[in-house]
Symmetry: C2
Subunit: 389 residues, 2 copies
């Protein structure tokens, strides 16, 4: 998006802000982990600033747990701090922790999903029949919904299960840095649904920019939900590859090479299975190349893969030792992607994704990664028989 386009986007919000919407939008965030709490903070800061657009109170659904004999929701609502998942960060007082999933969601005009991938089906089934029919959703989840029939976006899963339009938010956003209000960028993708009710009455790009943009969190809003989601899911597989070469001590050139090959395979995957996704999204948006770079510079997937390379331990063992019960998303995504590609006979066209799968699940040697990526099927540049070295 050019500077002029961005200027127009912001100008639209400016103009619109002086024409309050008929009924300010109620926003609820489903999820309260590290990233969920951070996004809740962002959203609640904006709803407090813009009562002409949003209901001030933001509900954040919290899976209730006891912390030293006190309910986590009570701690959040009195101390204004998520002491378990985002300690040390002050939360806005208009952000209300709510242990009742349906209660938090039932009046929401905008639902922001931000839970671990594996919890989504249960949450969605609990919400069925209990939300506004014209609610809109944004998914901050990473991953795919894969079965034998195909690979679906998680936003599509939400749309189909709940019957509401769903976009995606993704970007170069290591949560602790966003929580500390270090400057970063993100991408929000949302396509106006067929039943769009019109400006001032429904969620559109300007409303989403007003909801998520902060001085420290620069938002670009685009249409391409598929591109944003594909990039967000597959980057974790690439990050495992970077962790392997880092663990092998191969240095920055090798890590950059893995990222280059990975970006190419992400684009190819997007074009093959989501042909309406745009190539530009992958190399121009924060959700594309920037998130890939951030994710490959650190984080769980890199750490697990580095540990595997340095100790010879399995992915499972490494996850256990390093992640304290949490998981490295790439470990699961590379399996899903492999199974899907194998089912349609396309593994050869994604040598990096396949190499990562083979290393994690089939005991392939990391040292052969360059050859697996080069994918020259055993053909080497020839050495003439009379070569004298």
């Amino acid at each position: 998006m050019s500077a002029a386009d961005r200027l127009n986007q912001t100008s639209e919000i400016l103009n619109e802000s002086f024409q309050p919407v008929e009924n300010p939008f109620k926003v609820t965030v489903i999820g309260s982990g590290n990233w969920g709490t951070t996004i809740s903070k962002v959203v609640a800061e904006n709803t407090a600033l813009r009562p002409h657009l949003f209901v001030r109170r933001v509900d954040m659904w919290v899976f209730e747990e006891m912390i030293d004999g006190q309910k986590l929701t009570e701690i959040i609502n009195t101390k204004h701090e998520n002491v378990k998942y985002l300690p040390g960060i002050e939360l806005p007082d208009n952000l209300v922790a709510n242990p009742d999933l349906v209660g938090a969601a039932k009046d929401a005009d905008i639902l922001v999903f931000n839970v671990p991938h594996q919890f989504l089906p249960r949450i969605v089934s609990q919400l069925q029949g209990h939300i506004k029919k014209d609610a809109r959703a944004i998914s901050c989840l990473k991953g795919f919904d894969v079965d034998k029939d195909g690979v679906r976006l998680l936003s599509t899963y939400v749309e189909e299960k709940l019957g509401i339009a769903c976009g995606a938010l993704s970007g170069a956003n290591l949560a602790p840095e966003v929580a500390k209000e270090n400057w970063s960028e993100t991408t929000v993708a949302y396509k106006l649904p067929k039943d769009f009710k019109g400006q001032g009455k429904d969620v559109d790009h300007a409303v989403l920019k007003a909801l998520f943009h902060r001085p420290y969190f620069h938002v670009n809003v685009i249409d391409d939900v598929a591109g944003v989601s594909v990039a967000g899911a597959l980057k974790n597989v690439v990050a495992l590859g970077c962790g392997f070469v880092e663990g092998l001590g191969w240095g920055n050139n090798a890590s950059a090479a893995i990222q280059r090959v990975g970006l190419g395979e992400i684009i190819k995957f997007g074009q093959m299975f989501f042909p309406h996704s745009k190539v530009e999204t992958y190399y121009q948006e924060s959700a594309g190349v920037a998130d890939l770079i951030t994710t490959c510079s650190g984080g769980r997937n890199v750490r697990v893969a580095t540990h595997m390379a340095q100790t010879g331990k399995t992915a499972e063992e490494s996850e256990k030792e390093l992640l304290n019960g949490q998981s490295a998303q790439g470990i699961h995504t590379c399996k899903e992607v492999h199974e899907w590609l194998a089912s349609c006979g396309k593994t050869d066209e994604f040598p990096l994704f396949e190499a990562v799968y083979q290393i994690v699940y089939e005991g392939a040697s990391m040292e052969t990664l360059p050859d697996m990526i080069e994918d020259l099927e055993g053909v080497n540049i020839p050495v003439a028989k009379h070569a004298n070295k």
Copy 2:
């Protein structure tokens, strides 16, 4: 380039290798710094392996200097080590250090230029009239030749001054890692000239792959000399931006954001001033996105900019303190680029390049970098007057 294309490229070399060229190509490398010596090592390893394609001996022109009373060329030719610029790395015995520029170049069929940008004009003028008329060249230099009439590639400069076809080699190649034979990738760009003499008689893509490809140095050969050169020059400006945010302690998200914006401006610059360059080169080739990532993860430009951010010192002072007489290329390139963009009224369209220039030369505050990049001309997302926070 797809796996199939790469396979074809390597297969062509395979086939050709059994049909020796009429006259094996003599190769000379002009330059013997860190990167020059590393590329000389790569090239000499390949000429030794492929006598059907290349003359075994590779000359490396060395600017003669005395090291502890002994000539550097003598040390290199007896110890097979460039003790000054690439210590600790054994060089092939068919690599001959030569202090005589014209002597080293006069019989060469392939000239590989690998000297600091500022030495190029003098070297080229010394070579005029003393090289083979049908020699071919590859430039490993980074930067532009800028004057009031426009911005030219350094390969074009070589072509015009010497009257020989010149391509470019660039990639995610921190020299010490390549010298140690850690795996990396690179891009060689070369367009067959109008006077191409035919396969087996002249330099083509297969010959260049055979000359530069090593098991630890994977080469992709393409046509797009402009794309490779533009990316190689401008990455250093982006790296300064990354150094600023790193020095400010803003973390990985911010650095990734700078790289994303930088990649976009590199593409825009390429399309505007070298419209025959291909967008794909920037996001698919090692010389594009991968080199950007490597350069922004470390190296001189990042170090100088980080130092500026942490100490408040000028670029000049920081270069002096850190680089021991060497220079950070981005400091010069951002000035050249600014002057060129200013002369054609285009600075507004390259907010990151302009911001880096303003910070380095005009005392602009680094802290305002996000706003300068957002480039919204003072327009902020509005806060309604009755907002209650």
